[in-house]
């Protein structure tokens, strides 16, 4: 096995069939990432037992950690397969579909839930129309920009949700990523016009209060987004909103 890279992959043929495990080996070569290794496997999908099987299905696109497609569990950790360097992983490298999401096939999962939450929270800036009004948005300080830019890099990859103990079929918690987008939209100079509406949406069931502060999300986010900071800030906002709701606007 010394000159082979050993993978143990959780397979699942269809959403409603039972998962099973298969082992694969590919010739050792420096510089492999999990995605490039999967590419080698699919060219000749023969297990270590010598059985010819169907190629492993998975999602990938940019291969440079900016599209968010190739999230999966790699040795138990949710991350992007394109940037997971094989040389830095313990073997056998265990690949499983991204936790908490319905499996489509093998390592492909359905992440519709993330986009539904973005819709629910109106994670967009209301504009009169996508035409030129001959002025831009209000100015923004470099400091505000720096903070916003942290959150605007979220690629909806789902790693934070997979790692969150509060997220999953057992609750209706929306998870960290969509909440961080509320933080982003609410601090935008015109996005803040809909701040109340978004705060009310995250005050509802499955919203902010479900966060158990496990801090897993910030540890796994491939973009280093300070998700718990966002959640903390939103907590203070929500408290303020609650008071305003109770005692009226002051």
């Amino acid at each position: 096995m010394a000159d082979q890279i050993h993978f143990r992959i959780r397979r699942q043929d269809r959403p409603d069939t039972r998962p099973y495990w298969q082992d694969f080996g590919i010739p050792d070569q420096t510089g492999h990432k999990v995605v490039s290794a999967l590419m080698v496997i699919r060219e000749n999908p023969v297990t270590l037992d010598g059985e010819r099987v169907d190629p492993v299905a998975w999602e990938y696109n940019c291969m440079e950690e900016v599209c968010g497609a190739c999230s999966m569990m790699i040795n138990g950790v949710p991350r992007q397969a394109c940037s997971a360097l094989v040389d830095e992983l313990t073997q056998p490298i265990v690949l499983e579909p991204l936790d908490k999401f319905p499996v489509v096939r093998d390592l492909m999962v359905d992440r519709t839930a993330i986009f539904s939450s973005l819709k629910k929270f109106k994670a967009w800036i209301e504009i009169d129309g996508a035409w030129d009004i001959h002025q831009g948005a209000p100015r923004m300080s470099p400091q505000t920009w720096r903070e916003s830019y942290l959150y605007s890099q979220c690629m909806s990859c789902g790693c934070c949700l997979a790692s969150c103990p509060q997220y999953g079929p057992h609750t209706d918690f929306v998870g960290p990523a969509p909440l961080a987008q509320v933080r982003l939209m609410n601090t935008h100079p015109t996005g803040r016009y809909n701040r109340e509406e978004r705060l009310h949406a995250i005050m509802a069931e499955g919203g902010l209060s479900e966060c158990g502060n496990a801090q897993n999300c910030v540890r796994v986010c491939p973009k280093g987004i300070p998700l718990t900071t966002a959640i903390g800030e939103l907590g203070r906002e929500v408290t303020g909103q609650l008071l305003r709701d109770l005692f009226g606007k002051s």
Binding site: D13, R14, Q29, G31, K33, V35, S36, M39, R42, E43, N44, P45, R52, D54, P55, A57, E59, Y60, N61, C62, M63, E64, E65, V66, C67, G68, A69, L85, V104, R105, M108, F115, L118, K119, K122, W124, I125, I127, A130, W131, D132, I133, H134, Q135, G136, A137, R139, M140, S141, P142, W145, S148, Y149, S152, Q153, M155, S156, M185, T190, G191
Partner: protein, 630 residues
């Protein structure tokens, strides 16, 4: 037209497709948006450095006119100029719209959008959001489209693959046939107009490309095979600074040079010392030496050829290999990190070393297709630019079929300037959307009038293709075919081209096409069968590569990214306008233009692409000044 609200299909959810969807939906028509994946994963996210607009906020007296001149000359005059005129004029308004949508553009201390320098220009004109500008722009339009989706005007068909258009009895495009990538169901979708925004085709050069794995060009190839004209296919940009890699050559933004990065090689061939051990006087900053006026920010085609020359002709590649240094280590680390954070991280993660302390190793790689589906435009004689919202803008030669974004051929001519791609993707998407709205308003008969049988027979044809592939027990592996294709194109239809090689390449492509008819998938699953999808794409990529190769063979000159040394017209060394030698060169150059300043058109024929040429509209800036970055 029936009472039913007209419906438009948009294929592709990158910047072009999303902008088109937005404009069509805003006008009150319903949009069905098809994508191979969640649209947020589109290749537009890979654009890093920025988007050009002459905002002139740096005290350099930059102007829209200068943006036009740089774009036209940067593309060696090959692009029609009225669309470029509108592109540059409307760029500032487009940026303001993006800003209102919430794009996190980087800021100056005063709180306005910052600008950086990019290649092929002398003024700071590139608006940016760190080094992830494409991602930020795409997300903002994605959010706006989601807003309309929540209102029910836009319906997304994600995880669907476009297979073909359906043309009615009169040849008009009346819908598409697509395949569900999960259940593999092949279905017809009627539409009163179709917009193709399927992106680039860099995968024909894989793995030596910066493109995402879904940038196969398969969709464009399919409509080409159904009669759409393909233009300027031979013009493919090789980005000078891509990382080395066996699985992909990842992009290192031109912004790295715009912010002060320098390209160099050791002066001594095969120098084995580490870069930091090589003293300044023993380094060869060849771009600065050969192009003193522009230095490291010379246009991309020129930079790529210079690197090629330094490495292949002079033998000065680092360690004797295909690589040169892109050096940021002399710059202020904090400044570099603020401005280029995203790409520094990519390099750190994928290469393992830190560009702040160690020069990066880079080499040119296939990056962007200037060519693409031929699209029309209507000129407004009063302005010299596009006639706003003309239904002719971005219309292919197939009525009812529009194209925008990288899959069309407009705007960039023979070479694209950096940071003009996010601009053209957005602008063309918007223009195509507006054109479709006008087309629909003038449409007398909708897709409802087309007989069911036309749709069902196309569905049947596509199902048959699937069935035969699933049952085939051929010996050819689609993944091996793709690798052979990429190797062939990289070696023979790359940075430097030769007719003998191109002839050989075309022959090999025909062999590859024949082999791709004997594919064995090795799996027969009827659920999320990725090999089936891949095999179909590979077949269409091979056919598109033939268009690129044949177009390259037909053009016996050097222009922009298309370089055939045999026909090179060299600028006389150390001679400048006014010198008799330069003026003689100018005359030769003009003479060449009479023959070759033409759009290449490829038409699908059973025996291979048929090539013809079309006149270019040079009404804004007549070709009097050859490109010269010295």
């Amino acid at each position: 037209m029936s009472e039913r609200r007209p419906r438009v299909i948009v294929v592709g959810g990158g910047l072009g497709g999303l902008w088109a969807s937005l404009k069509i939906a805003e006008a009150g028509f319903s949009v069905q948006l098809f994508s191979l994946f969640e649209v947020k994963r589109s290749h537009s996210v890979c654009a890093q450095g920025g988007i050009n607009a002459s905002l002139d906020t740096k005290g350099q007296r930059d102007s829209i006119w200068q943006h036009m001149v740089d774009t036209i000359k940067g593309g060696s005059y090959l692009a029609n100029q009225p669309p470029i005129k509108s592109l540059c004029e409307e760029a500032p308004g487009l940026i303001r719209t993006f800003e209102r949508m919430g794009v996190t553009f980087s800021r100056t201390p005063e709180g306005i959008m910052d600008l950086r320098l990019f290649g092929g220009v002398k003024n700071k004109r590139t608006v940016f959001a760190g080094a992830s500008t494409g991602q930020q722009l795409l997300y903002s339009v994605d959010e706006q489209v989601r807003r309309l989706e929540a209102k029910g005007v836009v319906q997304k068909q994600e995880w669907w693959e476009f297979l073909s258009i359906v043309r009615g009895g009169d040849g008009t495009c009346r819908g598409i046939v697509a395949m569900d990538l999960k259940g593999l169901e092949v279905k017809e979708f009627r539409a009163d107009a179709v917009v193709l925004a399927s992106g680039g085709l860099g995968q024909i050069y894989a793995p030596k490309t910066t493109n995402s794995t879904n940038s196969t060009g398969a969709a464009a190839s399919r409509v080409y095979q159904q009669g759409a004209l393909f233009a300027n296919a031979e013009f493919f940009q090789f980005h000078p600074t891509a990382m080395l890699g066996d699985d992909k050559t990842r992009l290192m933004s031109e912004a790295a040079r715009g912010e002060g990065g320098r390209i160099w090689v050791p002066k001594t061939a095969g120098d084995q010392r580490r870069p930091k051990e090589i003293p300044e006087q023993e380094r060869f900053y060849f771009l600065e030496e050969w192009y003193p006026a522009y230095g490291n920010t010379v246009a991309r085609d020129v930079a790529s050829r210079a690197i090629w020359k330094a490495v292949r002709d002079l033998g000065l590649g680092v360690g004797g290999e295909d690589k040169v240094y892109l050096d940021l280590t002399h710059l202020d680390p904090e400044f570099v990190d603020t401005r280029l954070h995203a790409i520094l991280n990519i390099y750190r993660k994928f290469h393992g070393s830190d560009p702040i302390t160690e020069p990066m190793e880079i080499f040119p790689a296939a990056h962007y297709a200037m060519g693409g589906l031929w699209v029309d435009f209507e000129k407004n004689p009063a302005t010299g630019g596009l006639r706003c919202a003309s239904p002719r803008n971005h219309a292919t030669n197939i009525p009812g079929l529009y194209a925008c974004g990288e899959c069309d051929y407009g705007y960039h001519g023979a070479n694209r300037l950096g940071a003009n791609s996010l601009l053209s993707a957005s602008f063309s998407g918007r223009a195509a959307g507006e054109a479709v709205v006008s087309y629909l308003r003038g449409l007398e008969q909708g897709a409802d009038t087309v007989a069911n049988s036309i749709f069902s027979s196309e569905v049947k044809r596509q199902q048959e293709t699937n069935r035969s592939l699933l049952q085939a027990e051929g010996s050819e592996n689609p993944y091996h075919l793709h690798r052979a294709l990429g190797e062939l194109m990289t070696t023979k239809v790359g940075v430097v081209r030769e007719n003998r090689e191109l002839d050989a390449a075309f022959g090999e492509l025909q062999e590859l096409e024949a082999r791709s008819g004997c594919i064995g998938l090795g799996e027969s699953s009827n659920w999320a069968n990725q090999t089936l999808v891949y095999a179909r794409q590979v077949q269409d990529m091979i056919r598109l590569a033939q268009v690129v190769t044949r177009s390259a063979r037909e053009r016996d000159e050097c222009r922009g990214a298309h370089f055939k040394p045999e026909f090179e017209l060299q600028i006389p060394a150390d001679k400048f306008p006014g010198d008799p030698e330069f003026e003689a060169y100018r005359e030769d150059w003009k003479h060449r233009n009479e023959r070759w300043l033409k759009t290449t058109l490829a038409e699908h024929q059973p025996g291979g692409p048929k090539i013809s040429f079309e006149t270019v509209d040079t009404s804004v800036l007549p070709p009097e000044e050859p490109r010269d970055y010295r």
